[in-house]
Amino acid sequence: MNETSKLTVPHRPKANLGSTIPAPHAELHTPNSTAVHLSATGLKKNYRKGPVDIPVLTGVDLDVRQGEFLAIVGQSGCGKSTLLHLLGTLDAPTEGDVHFLGQRIDNLPVAKREQLRNEQFGMIFQFYHLLPEFTTLENVLTPLMIGRSVLSYWRGRRQAVQRAKQLLETLGLGHRLKHRPRELSGGEMQRVAIARALIAQPQVLLADEPTGNLDQSTGREILRILRTLNREHGLSIVMVTHDAAIAAEADRIVKLAGGQVAAA
């Protein structure tokens, strides 16, 4: 019944944030390069503009290994975000496959893809994309509300709230639980978005220009959090950015140009 339970994965404890996120270590982190976590093969994507097809991706091959922090760089409009959306099953490729833990996911039924997005992928966006009607706490809880029925959410709400509060506290937002997004700063909003991405204990974090809308020091702070998540909790992270300095924080950098992976 459960899509993810059928996926045969070498068992890995789910990301579990402790009470604190320690500062990033200076020592070099070696990614667990044993298994491919998320992969794209021959990925093509065209957008229809009236009668003409505009190719955005023209055949992307990409492997994300488990526990890897991968940065995708490229100029604006080169298809970075599109690639990320395809990886996250938000969009369907024109051609090519996306595999998650060895299983093809781009052609799954809608309901399975929704479940995948809800349980396995955490997403972070440049413009935070928090729901303006919800408080910080509610925004963080949204994935759980979506993933569970009213009854089961209600039964587990105490634990869920507990966990959301813990997450927000570790991200330094313990005093902002009841605030609406418009009352938060950009850095705070992005941290709320990270907490939301983590609440369902996903395996992969997909970040679309997570620092693009933030000043440098705030951006570094966000990056430090991502780094910590990657190191401490073994989360695979795919980050899209146009900023080479930001990308330099990642384990590996993939350059996208002309709709294809260019030699780095």
């Binding site: 938000l90 997005r117 979506i146």
Partner: protein, 525 residues
């Protein structure tokens, strides 16, 4: 869960959507008020119609063509006796009433109804409409000493005082007799030619008939003089001394609107009181019609609050009327009262099958007033359709505003979808939102409507005060308060209809939201 929470939040934060359901609110409130008032009116009307009409009527064709009422009644009893609780014969004939009041001579066309005072009250609500409590117990065509209601007993203490009714009865008759005597004396002093003084002459004129049937029965000493009178009204009259202070003419019950006018404040101004005399003219039966003028003494008023009845019906003892018209024991109709729970249509059909239609017509009281009742029903249906259209129009308002909200929330939809929300879930948000808006609109409308109905008379007073115009003129409607009936079934239908319209109106925007592509929705600025 997120659906419920989002619905709730949208409800709390999007006040523009609340504006779109104001028309739902108003529509629901108006429908409730209109239905309550119309139901009240028609119930009141049916009540009154039924009050004067018996359940089933068996009529002869023509004015008095039932020749042997007892035989007919026996047959009715034999045919449908198990459903029947009472029967009484009646005679109907149009006539003219004339009387003097305030120095003017009044003439009016009336429906003259001869009733059997012993049994008529058992077939209709007739007695409950009378003004003397004793007559309400048992009608008598003898003038009462007094004790007439000074307020409308059907309304209670809220109704205005009826000036004059406190002295109605024999007391009033004696007062009038003294006044007229004094006036007559005065007249005869000032003018030797007494023939011009019509008014006292009318009062002291000997009655054409004995005072009442009982007396007629008792006065065996001079039966011939009495019996001859109707046959030869234009012959030489026997001189009978008539003292109007101690004697009365045959009793008559007048419709109250014949004897009074209602001013714009709802006060009744009486032209006549019980104790006064009136003159009634009817045609005789047969092909050589002659006029018959008779003096009667008003013994009570009849107030059904149906102005048509109250201004035309005049009741006299049936024997009196039969004698006046010279129709022997013929009657016009047999009024039949059914047992509680008996179906009038069944009895009607049964009687129709047994009594030859060329001699007798059988009708229920609804048949008799069918056109009016159907018109009221029709009016109500049309009004309901029109008002429901208002709510339907409100649906388009909801549709438009919902489209706006969906556009405004495009990015939220993208976010939710990126977090794994299904299209059905997204649709659920907006359908649920529509439903909750409908609930709010219908709920507020329901509250306003019920409050309006509850305080309708205060509202009327307020409106009258503001506009200076009578909104609900008791002179026309014959009741002092607007009658209302709240039917739970009607209200549930109204609320259900409003809710459905709100939901139906939100289907299209909700579909649109559900079909949004997550990536495009996320990009939406």
């Amino acid at each position: 869960m997120y659906k419920l929470l989002l619905c709730w939040r949208y409800l709390r934060t999007r006040y523009i959507a609340l504006a779109s359901i104001i028309s739902v609110t108003l529509g629901v409130a108006t429908m409730i008020v209109v239905n309550a008032v119309m139901a009240g009116f028609s119930h009141e009307m049916e009540d009154r119609m039924h009050g004067i009409l018996s359940d089933v009527v068996l009529e002869g064709h023509g004015l008095e063509n039932i020749e042997n009422p007892q035989f007919v009644m026996d047959n009715i009893q034999a045919v449908a006796g198990k459903w029947i609780s009472g029967m009484t014969p009646t005679v109907h004939v149009p006539g003219i009433i004339t009387f003097n009041a305030n120095g003017q001579s009044h003439s009016q066309q009336i429906m003259f109804i001869g009733i059997d005072e012993a049994t008529y009250a058992s077939v209709s609500d007739f007695s409950k409409f009378l003004q003397n409590p004793e007559n309400r117990k048992q009608l008598s065509f003898q003038l009462r000493d007094g004790g007439y209601d000074v307020r409308d007993h059907q309304v209670g203490n809220k109704s205005p005082l009826r000036v004059g009714m406190e002295q109605a009865g024999w007391r009033w008759r004696r007062i009038m007799a003294e006044r007229q005597k004094a006036w007559a004396d005065n007249q005869s002093r000032t003018s030797t030619d007494g023939e011009h003084s019509s008014s006292p002459q009318e009062i002291v004129r000997p009655p054409l008939r004995p005072q009442n049937p009982e007396e007629q029965a008792n006065s065996d000493s001079a039966p011939d003089a009495h019996a001859k009178t109707p046959q030869n009204p234009f012959g030489p009259q026997p001189i009978v001394e008539f003292d109007s202070a101690t004697e009365q003419h045959p009793g008559v019950v007048l419709g109250i609107a014949l004897a009074s006018v209602r001013d714009h404040e709802g006060n009744d101004r009486f032209l006549l009181l019980p104790g006064d005399d009136v003159n009634i003219t009817v045609p005789t039966a047969g092909t050589q019609i002659k006029r018959q003028d008779w003096q009667f003494t008003v013994v009570d008023f009849y107030e059904s609050k149906m102005s048509e009845y109250d201004s035309t019906f005049v009741f006299v003892p049936i024997k009196q009327l039969q004698a006046m018209r010279g129709i022997g024991t013929n009657v016009s109709a047999i009024q039949i009262k059914l047992q509680p729970g008996a179906d009038a249509n069944t009895v009607r059909d049964l009687l129709r099958s047994k009594f030859p239609p060329e001699l007798y017509g059988v009708y229920t009281w609804r048949d008799k007033q069918g056109a009016l009742l159907a018109a009221v029903q029709m009016e109500r249906a049309v009004l309901n359709i029109l008002l429901f259209m208002i709510i339907a129009v409100a649906g388009f308002g909801i549709l438009a505003i919902f489209f706006m909200i969906v556009v405004e929330k495009t990015r939220d939809v993208g976010i939710l979808k990126s977090l794994g929300a299904s299209s059905r879930g997204i649709m659920g948000i907006f359908l649920g939102y529509g439903l909750s808006l409908g609930f709010v609109g219908a709920g507020v409308g329901l509250t306003i409507g019920l409050l309006f109905v509850h305080y309708i008379n205060q509202v009327r007073d307020g409106l009258e005060w503001i506009t200076g115009q009578p909104v609900f003129d008791p002179a026309i409607y014959y009741f002092y308060e607007i009658p209302t009936i709240i039917d739970p079934l009607t209200i549930s239908w109204i609320v259900f209809g409003a809710l459905s319209i709100a939901v139906v109106a939100s289907v299209l925007p909700a579909l649109r939201a559900a079909r949004l592509h997550p990536v495009e929705a996320l990009r939406y600025e």
